[in-house]
C-alpha cells in the first residue's frame, strides 16, 4: 500500500490502530474511565478526520471508496461509537467491564462499519461486514456474569454465521456470473443477457438473505428480540442503530447500480418491506419489556427504511439517510435511558418495573417519552419528517400501497409506543428510586432530545446535508 492509499484510509486507520493501542494499553493500565475516554476521543478524532481531511485518492486498492458519501457514513458511525462509549461510562463501572477491551472492541466495530459503507467491491464489503460482526459477538456477551448475555451472544453468533455463509456463497455466485468483485463491473455484468445471468441473480438472492439477517428483516428477524434483550443496553443501542445503518448504507449505492436487473430484486424487496412493516408492528404490540419492544420496533423501522431503499435514486436515498439519522437518534436515546436506569444486578426493562417512574426521574422519563413519540412519528419531533420523507418518496415513485401500509402500521405502532409512556406517567407509583443520572448520560440524552426537537421543527439543514453527500 502506498502512502497515498494509507492517507485515504486515515479515519479507518485511526479507529483500527487506536483500537489496537487501547487494547495493548489496557493490559498495562487498569483504569476503566481513562480508556473509555481515550476511546471516545479517538472516535471523535476519526470523525473529524473523515469530515475535514480530503482524501487524496478516489479508491483504495480497488476495494474501498473515499467518496463524500463514504466519508459521511464514517463520521456518523464514529459518532455513534463515541456516543456508545460516553453512555457506557457508568454502566461499565456498574458491571465491572474491562475498560481497555470494551473501548477497543467498540473502536474495531467502528472501523468495520466505516469500511463496510465505504466498500466498492464485494471483498471489501465482506471484510467490513465480518470485521464488525465478529466484534459484536463479543460485545453482546460482554457481561460474563449474565446468562442472558451469553445466550444472546450465542444466538447472534449462530444466526450471524449462517448469514455469513449466505453472503460468501452469494458473492461467489455473483463472481462466477460476472467475473469481477468490483461493484461497477459486477453490476454491469448482470445487465447482459447471457446464460450465466440466472446464477448472478441467485447470488443476489443469497445476498438478500444475508442482508435480511443482518438488518433483521422478516422472516429473518427472529434473533432480534432475544439478542437486544440479552445484550448490554448500550450495545443494543449500537446494534439497532449503527450496525444496521452501516449495512443499509452499503447496499443503497449497490442497489442503485443494479439498473434493469434490479427489477427482480426489487420485487423481492417489495414483499420483504411489506412483511417487515406488518410483522414488526404486530409483534411489538404484546411486548411488556422495553428492550424487546424496541427490538420489534427496530424491525418495523427497517421495513420503512426498506421502502426507501427500494425507491432508490436521489429521492429514496435522501429519505433513507434522513430517516436513518432521526431513527438512530431516537433509538439510541431510548437505549441510553435504559442504560442510565440499569442497576448493578439487572437492567430495568419490564413495564411493571417502570410504573410511575416519570415522577421519580422526570428528566430521563420525559426524554424516553420524546424518543418513543419521535419513533412513532408524532410532530413536531424529527421522526415525523422522517416518515413524511419516506411516504412522500413512496407516493412520488408510485408505491402507493407501501405508503398506505406504512401509514397504517404507524398508526398501530402508536399503541406500543404509547404504552411505556402511559406506564411512566399515568400509573400509580410502584417503581423504586433508581440512581440519579450522571453528567455524561444527561449530556448525551439531552443532546439527542435537542437534536430530535430541532430537526423536527427545522429539518432543512439536515435534508440539505443528506442531499449533498448522496452519490
Amino acid at each position: 500500500m502506498s502512502l497515498l492509499e494509507l492517507q485515504s484510509l486515515l479515519p479507518q486507520l485511526i479507529l483500527a490502530l487506536g483500537a489496537t493501542a487501547v487494547l495493548m494499553g489496557g493490559a498495562w493500565l487498569e483504569n476503566r474511565r481513562v480508556w473509555l475516554v481515550i476511546g471516545m476521543l479517538l472516535a471523535l478524532v476519526a470523525a473529524c478526520a473523515a469530515a475535514l481531511f480530503e482524501p487524496p485518492l478516489v479508491e483504495v486498492a480497488g476495494m474501498y471508496g473515499t467518496s463524500l458519501y463514504a466519508r459521511f457514513c464514517t463520521v456518523f458511525w464514529s459518532l455513534c461509537v463515541a456516543a456508545t462509549l460516553l453512555i457506557s461510562c457508568r454502566y461499565a463501572d456498574l458491571h465491572r467491564f474491562g475498560g481497555g477491551e470494551y473501548a477497543s472492541l467498540l473502536l474495531f466495530a467502528g472501523a468495520g462499519m466505516s469500511l463496510l459503507s465505504a466498500a466498492t467491491s464485494f471483498v471489501g464489503l465482506f471484510i467490513g461486514l465480518e470485521a464488525f460482526t465478529l466484534v459484536l459477538y463479543i460485545l453482546i456477551a460482554f457481561n460474563r456474569t449474565d446468562n442472558r448475555g451469553a445466550e444472546a451472544g450465542l444466538k447472534y453468533l449462530v444466526f450471524g454465521a449462517v448469514a455469513t455463509g449466505f453472503l460468501a456463497f452469494g458473492i461467489a455466485l455473483i463472481y462466477t456470473a460476472t467475473g469481477s468483485f468490483h461493484f461497477t463491473e459486477a453490476l454491469a455484468g448482470l445487465q447482459v443477457e447471457n446464460s450465466l445471468r440466472p446464477l448472478g441473480l441467485a447470488g443476489w438472492a443469497m445476498l438478500l438473505v444475508a442482508i435480511g439477517f443482518k438488518i433483521s428483516l422478516v422472516p429473518f428477524h427472529l434473533w432480534t428480540p432475544d439478542v437486544y434483550q440479552g445484550a448490554p443496553a448500550p450495545i443494543s443501542g449500537l446494534l439497532a442503530t449503527a450496525a444496521k445503518g452501516a449495512v443499509l448504507a452499503a447496499f443503497l449505492p449497490l442497489l442503485g447500480g443494479l439498473g434493469e436487473a434490479g427489477g427482480v430484486v426489487k420485487e423481492v424487496l417489495w414483499l420483504l418491506a411489506i412483511l417487515t412493516m406488518l410483522v414488526g408492528t404486530f409483534a411489538a404490540l404484546p411486548q411488556t419489556n422495553l428492550k424487546r419492544m424496541l427490538a420489534y420496533s427496530s424491525v418495523a423501522h427497517m421495513g420503512y427504511l426498506l421502502v426507501a431503499l427500494l425507491i432508490g435514486g436521489a429521492v429514496g436515498g435522501q429519505a433513507l439517510l434522513f430517516y436513518l439519522l432521526v431513527y438512530s437518534l431516537a433509538t439510541f436515546g431510548a437505549f441510553g435511558v435504559v442504560t442510565s436506569w440499569a442497576l448493578a444486578e439487572e437492567e430495568i426493562q419490564d413495564y411493571a418495573a417502570i410504573r410511575g417512574l416519570g415522577y421519580l426521574h422526570p428528566r430521563r422519563a420525559s426524554a424516553l417519552a420524546v424518543f418513543l413519540l419521535s419513533l412513532a412519528g408524532i410532530p413536531p419531533l424529527a421522526g415525523f419528517f422522517g416518515k413524511f420523507g419516506i411516504f412522500h418518496a413512496a407516493l412520488r415513485s408510485g408505491y402507493t400501497e407501501l405508503a398506505v401500509i406504512g401509514v397504517l402500521t404507524s398508526l398501530i405502532s402508536l399503541y406500543y409506543y404509547l404504552r411505556p409512556v402511559i406506564v411512566l406517567f399515568m400509573q400509580d407509583r410502584s417503581a423504586y428510586q433508581l440512581r440519579s443520572g450522571c453528567r455524561e448520560e444527561y449530556l448525551l440524552l439531552g443532546g439527542c432530545v435537542a437534536a430530535i426537537l430541532f430537526f423536527g421543527v427545522y429539518p432543512g439543514p439536515l435534508l440539505e446535508l443528506v442531499a449533498l453527500v448522496l452519490p
Binding site: 410532530p379 415525523f384 413524511f388 411516504f391 398508526l411 399515568m426 427545522y458
Partner: protein
C-alpha cells in the same frame, strides 16, 4: 422567494408566546405559585394581543387582516405561512379567553402543577397554530401538536378511567389525521406534476385540476380527520369518554376549542380545496348532522353523569353547526360560526360549573345531586343561566346562532329546517332535566356548603357577561366574519 411580512410579526408572537410560557413553566417547576402566575400572565397576554388585533385591525374585510410568509423547509416546498381573517380572529379570541378560564379553574392544581400548566400552554400554541396556518404541512403539524398535550391532560389528571379515555381519544383522532397526511402529500405531488411548482401553500393547491373521482377521494381523506374532531355522528364515540374523564381545564379546552378546529378545517381547507366533492356531499353531511343532533340529544337525556350530559349536548350542538354549513348560504354559515363561538362559551362555562359542583358535593351522579339552590344560591343561579343559554333561550348566547342557522336552512332546504327545529325541543328536554335534578329536586347535603369564592366569581362573571352579550348583541361578531364567509362561499355552489 421573497419574504413578505407586513409590519411586526404579531401572528408569530401570538403563536409562540404560549410556548415560551410553557418552557418557562418547566424551568420554574419547583414553585407551583410561580408556574400558576406565569401561566395566567401568559394567557392574559395572549388575550390582550388578540384583543388588540381585533380592535386595531380593519376587521370585516374579505382579505387577510394579517399575513406572514417565510421560507422554512425549502427541499419540500414547505413554507411558514400564517394568515388571519375574521373567522380565525374570532376563534383565536375564543381560544385566548377560554384558556384564561381554564387556568383559573385549575388554580389549585396540586398534582405536578408545572407539567400541567406547561401542557395547557402548549395546547394553546397548537390550537392557535391550527387557526392561523395556511400551509398544509404547517397546519398538519399544529393539528397533531394539539394531540400530545390533550393526551397527557386526560391521561394524567383525569378521573377514574382516564387512561382508557386518553388512548381512545389519541387513536381516534390520529387515525383520521394520518389519512389527511397521505392526502396532503399526494395532492402536493399531483399539483407539482401539473405545474412544476412543488408547494404546500393552500392558495396554490386550490388551483390544482382534479377529476371528480380524485377530488372525492382527497375530500374523504381530509374529512376523515375533521369529522372525527368535530365529532360528527357516527365518529363521536371518543368524545363522551374524553370529556367525562378529562380534568376541568381539559374539558373546557376540548369542548370549547378542539371541536372547533374540526369545523375550521372543513371551511378553511376541505371545502375550498375540493368544491365539486363538497357540493355532492352536502346532503350526506346534513343527514349525518341531523341524525347526530337527535341521537346525541336523546342519549344526553338518558345519562346519569352530569358531565356526560353536557358532553353529548356538545355533539348535538355541533350537529347543528354542521347542518348550517351544509345549507350553504350566508345566513346559515354566519349562524354556524356564531353558534361555534357561543357553544364554546356556554359549554366551557357548564364544564366549569360542573367542576365547581363536584368540588362541593364530590359527585357527578345526577341521582345523588339535588337541591343546590338551598345551600348555594349564587352558584345555582349561574348554573341556571348557562343551562338556559345552552338550550337556546332567546336573549342568551346559543339562541342567536341557532335562529340564524334555522333561518338559513329554511331558505334553502325547508325540510331539513323543519326537522332541525325539533332538535331545539330535545335540547330543552335534557337541559331542563339537568337543571331540575341538580338545582331543585330532592335535597342532598353537599359536604362543602360554601358558596362561590372570589376566584370563582372572577371566572363566572366574564363568562356570564359574554353569554348575555353574545345573545343580545352578536352584531360585532357577525360583521367580523361576514367578509370572509362571502369569500369562502363565493365561487362555489
Amino acid at each position: 422567494m421573497a419574504e413578505t411580512t407586513t409590519g411586526l410579526p404579531f401572528l408569530s408572537l401570538l403563536l409562540w408566546l404560549p410556548l415560551l410560557g410553557a418552557l418557562l413553566c418547566l424551568l420554574c417547576y419547583r414553585s407551583a405559585t410561580v408556574c400558576r402566575w406565569l401561566t395566567l400572565g401568559t394567557t392574559i397576554l395572549v388575550l390582550l394581543v388578540s384583543l388588540w388585533l381585533a380592535f386595531a385591525g380593519s376587521t370585516g374585510e374579505a382579505g387577510w387582516l394579517l399575513f406572514e410568509d417565510r421560507s422554512w423547509i425549502e427541499p419540500f416546498g414547505i413554507r411558514y405561512t400564517l394568515g388571519l381573517d375574521g373567522i380565525s380572529l374570532l376563534l383565536i379570541l375564543l381560544t385566548a379567553f377560554l384558556q384564561v378560564i381554564a387556568v383559573l379553574i385549575s388554580w389549585d392544581m396540586r398534582k405536578h402543577p408545572a407539567f400541567f400548566f406547561a401542557l395547557v400552554l402548549l395546547l394553546e400554541t397548537g390550537i392557535i397554530g391550527v387557526f392561523l396556518a395556511l400551509d398544509l404541512v404547517l397546519f398538519y403539524l399544529f393539528w397533531e401538536l394539539m394531540l400530545i398535550p390533550m393526551f397527557f391532560l386526560i391521561g394524567v389528571w383525569g378521573h377514574e378511567r382516564r387512561v382508557y379515555a386518553a388512548v381512545k381519544f389519541f387513536l381516534f383522532t390520529l387515525a383520521g389525521s394520518l389519512l389527511l397526511l397521505l392526502a396532503i402529500i399526494s395532492l402536493y405531488l399531483l399539483h407539482g406534476e401539473q405545474t412544476g411548482v412543488y408547494t404546500f401553500a393552500l392558495a396554490a393547491l386550490k388551483q390544482t385540476e382534479l377529476s371528480f373521482g380524485q377530488e372525492l377521494l382527497y375530500y374523504l381523506c381530509f374529512m376523515a380527520a375533521f369529522v372525527v374532531k368535530v365529532p360528527l355522528f357516527p365518529f363521536h364515540s371518543w368524545l363522551p369518554d374524553a370529556h367525562t374523564e378529562a380534568p376541568a381545564a381539559g374539558s373546557v379546552d376540548l369542548a370549547g376549542l378542539l371541536l372547533k378546529t374540526g369545523v375550521y378545517g372543513m371551511i378553511r381547507f376541505a371545502f375550498p380545496l375540493f368544491p365539486q366533492a363538497t357540493e355532492k356531499s352536502l346532503p350526506v353531511l346534513a343527514g349525518l348532522a341531523l341524525i347526530g343532533l337527535f341521537y346525541a340529544a336523546w342519549i344526553a337525556y338518558l345519562q346519569f353523569d352530569i358531565k356526560r350530559i353536557v358532553a353529548y349536548s356538545s355533539i348535538s350542538h355541533l350537529g347543528f353547526v354542521i347542518l348550517g354549513l351544509a345549507a350553504w348560504n350566508q345566513t346559515a354559515w354566519e349562524g354556524s360560526l356564531l353558534l361555534m363561538i357561543n357553544h364554546g362559551v356556554t359549554t366551557g362555562a357548564l364544564f366549569v360549573m360542573i367542576a365547581m359542583i363536584r368540588q362541593r358535593t364530590g359527585t357527578r351522579e345526577i341521582d345523588k345531586l339535588g337541591g343546590l339552590w338551598k345551600t348555594q344560591p349564587n352558584l345555582s343561579a349561574f348554573f341556571l343561566l348557562f343551562c338556559f343559554a345552552s338550550l337556546g333561550l332567546p336573549g342568551l348566547a346559543n339562541f342567536a346562532g341557532e335562529i340564524l342557522i334555522l333561518v338559513g336552512v329554511f331558505a334553502s332546504h325547508p325540510v331539513w329546517g323543519a326537522i332541525a327545529v325539533g332538535g331545539v325541543l330535545f335540547a330543552a328536554a335534557y337541559m331542563l332535566r339537568l337543571v331540575q335534578e341538580v338545582i331543585w329536586g330532592s335535597s342532598c347535603e353537599p359536604f362543602d356548603k360554601s358558596d362561590l369564592c372570589q376566584r370563582e366569581w372572577l371566572i363566572l362573571i366574564p363568562l356570564a357577561l359574554l353569554v348575555v352579550l353574545l345573545g343580545c348583541y352578536p352584531q360585532p361578531a357577525l360583521e367580523v366574519m361576514r367578509g370572509p364567509i362571502q369569500l369562502l362561499l363565493g365561487g362555489m355552489p
